[in-house]
C-alpha cells in the first residue's frame, strides 16, 4: 500500500470527554486504502514542535473520504492539537504500519484507555460481528459505548470505581466472557500491563490474540529505529513498520 504525505483539511476537532478529542480530516487518499490498526503521523505546525505525532485511525469513511482520530491531550503536541480549527490544513503521513489480520469470525475486542480508539475502526469493519470489552476509570471517561453502538454486537464495560458496568478491570471480567461465548480471536489494545494480562488468559484458553504496541516514534517508516522491539524468537522488529499489530505470542 503506497504511503503518502499530504495536507488534509480539518473538518472537525471537538472534545469528547475531559482531555479527549475527536479530530476528523478530509483525506480521501488515506481513507480509500487504510486498514484497521494502521496509524497516521500528523504534523502539528505550532510552537517549536518538530516531529510528527502518531495517532491510530479511529474510524474512516472511504466513500466520503474522511478519516477520524481520537486523541488524549497528554503533552505539548496533543495540547497544541486541541487548538486546531476546521478549515486549517494538517499534514498527514500514512497510512502507516500493518493493521489487524481481519480473519476472525467471532472476535472479542478488548480496549483500555485510548487503546479503545483503533478498535472502533475494527468494529466498524466487522459490522456487528464483534463484541467489545472496554475498561476505563469512571463513567465520565466512558463516552465510548455510544461510539460503538452502531458497530458492535455486545458491549461489556468495566470501570475502576464501578460507576458504569462492572467494577474492576477488563481482565477481571474476561474469564467469564470467555466461558459465555466461544470467541475465535481476541484483539486487544491498551496499556501494556493490560495487554499482557489479556494475552496470558487468551493463551491459557488457546485463543489467538492480536495486540497493538505503542512506542515513541520519529519517522514512522522503519528508518530511524526509535521504536525497535524484541520478538520472543530473538528477532528485532520495528513497531512502526512491522507493527504496530503483532500476534501476542510474538512480542509479549
Amino acid at each position: 500500500m503506497p504511503k503518502i504525505s499530504i495536507d488534509a483539511i480539518i473538518l472537525e476537532n471537538k472534545p469528547l470527554g475531559s482531555d479527549i478529542y475527536q479530530l476528523s480530516v478530509a483525506c480521501p487518499e488515506i481513507a480509500s486504502c487504510a486498514q484497521p490498526g494502521m496509524f497516521v503521523q500528523l504534523q502539528i505546525n505550532r510552537e517549536m514542535l518538530l516531529l510528527r505525532r502518531p495517532l491510530s485511525i479511529a474510524d474512516l469513511d472511504a466513500a466520503a473520504g474522511t478519516v477520524t482520530f481520537i486523541y488524549r491531550r497528554i503533552g505539548k503536541g496533543t495540547a497544541a492539537m486541541t487548538s486546531l480549527q476546521p478549515q486549517e490544513k494538517i499534514n498527514c503521513l500514512g497510512p502507516l504500519g500493518h493493521g489487524f489480520a481481519m480473519t476472525a469470525k467471532n472476535p472479542l475486542l478488548i480496549g483500555g484507555g485510548l487503546g479503545i480508539a483503533p478498535l472502533l475502526f475494527v468494529a466498524h469493519r466487522l459490522a456487528g460481528q464483534a463484541d467489545i470489552l472496554m475498561g476505563g476509570r469512571c463513567r465520565q471517561e466512558m463516552f465510548w459505548p455510544e461510539l460503538f453502538q452502531p458497530y458492535a454486537r455486545k458491549i461489556f464495560i468495566t470501570t475502576d470505581d464501578g460507576s458504569l458496568g462492572t467494577k474492576g478491570f477488563t481482565i477481571d471480567l474476561l474469564p467469564m466472557l470467555l466461558q459465555q461465548e466461544k470467541y475465535d480471536q481476541i484483539i486487544v489494545c491498551g496499556p501494556e500491563i493490560m495487554m499482557r494480562g489479556v494475552a496470558k488468559i487468551a493463551a491459557a484458553a488457546s485463543i489467538p490474540c492480536q495486540v497493538s504496541l505503542e512506542k515513541r516514534m520519529a519517522c514512522g517508516l522503519g528508518a530511524c529505529l526509535s521504536c525497535s522491539c524484541d520478538t520472543n524468537d530473538g528477532r528485532r522488529v520495528k513497531v512502526c513498520k512491522d507493527g504496530p499489530v503483532f500476534w501476542a505470542q510474538e512480542v509479549l
Binding site: K3, L50, R216, A218, C219, A223, L225, S228, K241
Partner: protein, 305 residues
C-alpha cells in the same frame, strides 16, 4: 540549463546526480522512502551505522523531542556487516543511487576489517563514524582525539580501494585540529556534524528521559553550530566536506555550500517530511538558475568575508 546538468557533481571520485545526500541513521537503507523519494536523484544514500557483529542498540526510550530538535540514543542497532552484504545490499542496489556505508568499530582494527569487507561492487564509499555518542565503545574516543581519528583513517585506507570519509564529532574544542589530522592520514573527505551530546530529564519521575541517559541532538536547533564547524573545517583542510546538521530546506543547504561544503546531507528533516530531499534538490537547482550559476561548484566556499 537542464536541472540534471546543473546539479551533477563529483566528490572524492564519486559521481553524483546531485550534491544532496541522506545522513546515516535517518534514512534507513533508502528503501523505506521509495514512496516519497526518487533515490536515483540523491547524491548518495548513507546507510545506518554498521558494525562487525549485529547490535541490538540501547534499551528504554530512544528518542525524545526538544525545542527545534530531537535527542536520540538508538545506540547503533544494526544487523551486522555480513547481513548487510548478503541480504540488504543486493536488494537496495537496484535503486541506482550511490550507497555509502557508515561504519563503527570498537578498535582501530575493526575499522580495517569492516573497510575490507565492504570493498565490494555496489558500495560507493565508506563513512567512518568515530563519533557516535550513544555507545560506550562506539568510537567516541576516536572522535575527540586527533591521533586516534587518524589511526582509524589509516586502518580503513589500508584495507579498501573505496573513498574513505571521516565523520567528525562536534563535541570538540578544536575542529580544525581534528580535520587536519584526518586529512593528513589520507581521508578522501570529511563529513560533519554528527550529533551534539545532550540530555533531558523527566521531572515527574526524576529519571533521565533516554534509556542511555544522554543522547545525540540533531535537527534545526543545531544548524548554527553545524554551519560554524563546517566553515572552520573548510578553512583548515583541502579535502571535500559533506556538511550536515539541521538542514530543513534549500536555503539551509545553500548556507552550507557557501560555508564550504561540497555536498550536504539531510538527516532529521526526513522524519518531518519524507519527501524533503526532493524539495531541497529542486530548491537548489532553482537557486542556481536564479543566480545564473552553472554548477554547484560555483557556490562552494564562496562566502565573502
Amino acid at each position: 540549463m537542464e536541472q540534471s546538468a546543473l546539479l551533477r557533481t563529483e566528490l572524492a571520485g564519486i559521481k553524483m546526480q546531485s550534491p544532496v545526500w541522506t545522513a546515516s541513521g535517518t534514512f534507513g537503507f533508502g528503501e523505506e522512502f521509495t514512496d516519497f523519494v526518487d533515490l536515483h536523484r540523491l547524491g548518495a544514500v548513507v546507510v545506518k551505522g554498521t558494525t562487525l557483529q549485529p547490535r541490538r542498540g540501547n534499551d528504554g526510550v530512544r528518542m525524545t523531542e526538544t525545542p527545534a530538535g530531537m535527542l536520540n540514543c538508538i545506540g547503533l542497532e544494526n544487523p551486522g556487516v555480513d547481513f548487510f552484504l548478503n541480504d540488504i545490499l543486493p536488494r537496495i542496489q537496484k535503486y541506482g543511487s550511490n550507497i555509502i556505508v557508515n561504519i563503527s568499530g570498537s578498535t582501530v582494527e575493526e575499522y580495517g576489517i569492516l573497510a575490507e569487507k565492504l570493498d565490494v561492487p555496489g558500495v560507493a564509499g565508506i563513512e567512518l563514524n568515530v563519533s557516535c555518542p550513544n555507545v560506550k565503545d562506539g568510537g567516541i574516543i576516536f572522535g575527540t582525539d586527533p591521533k586516534a581519528a587518524a589511526a582509524v583513517v589509516t586502518a580503513a585506507k589500508k584495507h579498501t580501494s573505496l573513498p574513505v570519509i571521516l565523520k567528525l564529532s562536534p563535541n570538540v574544542t578544536d575542529i580544525a585540529l581534528m580535520a587536519r589530522a584526518v586529512e593528513e592520514a589520507g581521508a578522501d573527505a570529511i563529513s560533519l556534524i554528527n550529533t551534539l551530546l545532550g540530555m533531558a530529564i523527566d521531572i515527574h519521575t526524576w529519571r533521565p528521559v533516554l534509556g542511555n541517559v544522554t543522547g545525540g541532538l540533531s535537527g534545526p536547533a543545531v544548524k548554527p553550530v553545524a554551519l560554524r564547524l563546517v566553515w572552520q573545517t573548510a578553512q583548515a583542510v583541502h579535502i571535500p566536506i559533506i556538511g550536515m546538521g539541521g538542514i530543513m530546506n534549500a536555503d539551509d543547504a545553500i548556507e552550507f555550500f557557501l560555508a564550504g561544503a561540497s555536498a550536504v546531507s539531510i538527516g532529521t528533516a526526513n522524519f518531518v517530511d519524507p519527501a524533503i530531499t526532493m524539495k531541497i534538490i529542486d530548491g537548489i537547482a532553482d537557486y542556481l538558475q536564479l543566480h545564473h550559476l552553472n554548477n554547484i561548484e560555483e557556490l562552494i566556499g564562496k562566502m565573502k568575508l
